[in-house]
């Protein structure tokens, strides 16, 4: 049986609870949870830990919160967003247990630290997933086996490239432009060898880079009335799509200038 949660936490305790809640919110936001879920989870945690007068406002890239009559207030900037739904799931699980009153603050802090440390899949798995995913999507969009194979090669190359980019912390826009150019180049080369349609292969492999997630989240934010967050995500999606088009367009243009053959 866990120790009961303090009904009236003192000043020191309140600050600790606040820090914990902010960290939990940041973890959710960083790893791809929706804005309203972050708000909701933070409020549930505050209520369960008896942190009174807790108000929170979450944007796609920041958290603002205060507790007490503005006795404590904190701001977190969350510029880097990746997608790791396993961590979101863990924090969600933790918040459910906190709401049920089964977890003390000490345990909760430890569990949160563990959730934040859940690793990404190994690089071999990421390479395999990129390859197989590009293959499957190229088939889904109407490609035949040959263009699927080309997409798989491109998917493998671009997954490896993205892994390398993450290691050296290359800026996102540059990553997308060069990644798209790489995909198009590989697809043109392999498709010319195999005699397959370049279009299906390219779009299958490009699915790895397309802003599908940003787009879906943007829609969901809009539907929930988080218009500012939705706008941020949508602009994100448009920027990514623009970068992809730049990269792919560049290679296609160069190819048609060099060989006189127009693809797509």
């Amino acid at each position: 049986m866990a120790a009961p949660i303090e009904q009236y936490p003192d000043g020191e305790q309140r600050r600790r609870i606040m820090d914990f809640i902010m960290a939990a919110g940041q973890t959710l936001l960083e790893n791809g949870a929706e804005v309203f879920r972050v708000e909701q989870t933070m409020q549930i945690m505050a209520r369960s830990f008896h942190l009174r007068e807790f108000n929170v406002y979450v944007l796609t890239n920041g958290i603002f919160a205060s507790a007490g009559t503005a006795e404590i207030s904190e701001v977190r900037n969350v510029p880097n967003r990746t997608i790791h739904l396993g961590r979101v799931d863990q924090v969600n699980e933790l918040s459910r247990e906190i709401a049920a009153g089964q977890v003390t603050l000490d345990e909760a802090e430890q569990r949160l630290a563990e959730a934040r440390r859940i690793p990404f899949p190994r690089w071999q798995a990421q390479l395999l997933a990129g390859t197989a995913g590009a293959f499957a999507f190229s088939l889904m969009f109407g490609g035949n086996l040959a263009s699927g194979a080309a997409a798989a090669v491109a998917g493998f190359v671009v997954s490896a490239y993205l892994l390398a980019c993450q290691k050296y912390q290359v800026p996102a826009v540059f990553q997308k432009i060069t990644g798209a150019a790489l995909i198009t180049l590989v697809c043109i080369l392999v498709c010319t060898l195999l005699g397959a349609s370049v279009n299906h292969a390219t779009i299958g492999a490009l699915m790895i880079l397309t802003p599908g997630v940003a787009f879906t989240m943007g829609i969901r934010d809009f539907v929930h009335g988080d218009y500012l967050s939705g706008t941020i995500r949508m602009i994100d999606a448009v920027l990514i799509a623009g970068s992809l088009a730049c990269g792919a367009g560049l290679v296609l243009r160069l190819y048609s200038i060099l060989t006189g053959v127009t693809v797509v």
């Binding site: 791809g32 997608i83 799931d89 899949p121 798995a125 990129g130 879906t216 539907v223 367009g249």
Partner: protein, 152 residues
């Protein structure tokens, strides 16, 4: 609905299973949700293909709306059964339907200065996005009966 149609749908179901699972893996979904995510994405894509078969190629928007409804419903059911946030299933499952290619083509024709194709693709992408939004919000807003059982 002929046998070859059914085979075609089954084939797409399997392809979408693979595709969704791969992207789910890249998003780091928890291990216990692998199968559910794959099924979710595959159901959405199969319904989409079925609707395209029935409506023809011009019905992409309607097909997206029709597909997003069972997909989101399934995501909610999985979320309750497996005790995971809806996002885990929704984000992966919706991936085949999201007009990622549409956004890309829109930007591509914008850069190529082909205004007609740019408008065409852009409008189509927008319509599909709205259809997705309506489908998702319809089902997510729908109240589901929740078993109120206290666990010991």
């Amino acid at each position: 609905m002929t046998l070859s149609d059914l085979l075609y749908l089954a084939e797409h179901f399997l392809r979408a299973c693979g595709g969704t699972l791969c992207f789910g893996l890249l998003f780091g979904i928890p291990r216990r949700t692998y199968l559910a995510c794959a099924v979710d994405g595959a159901v959405g894509w199969a319904v989409y293909q079925l609707a395209i078969l029935l409506l023809g190629d011009s019905g992409a928007v309607t097909a997206t709306l029709l597909a997003s409804i069972p997909l989101t419903l399934l995501a909610r059911i999985f979320a309750i059964k497996l005790k995971a946030p809806v996002t885990v299933f929704l984000l992966c499952g919706i991936f085949p339907l999201v007009p990622g290619a549409g956004i890309y083509y829109t930007a591509y024709y914008f850069i190529l200065d082909d205004n007609q194709l740019f408008m065409e693709n852009g409008l189509n992408t927008l319509k599909i996005a709205i259809a997705l939004a309506i489908g998702i919000s319809l089902v997510l807003g729908m109240p589901l009966p929740r078993p109120k059982k206290k666990q010991p």
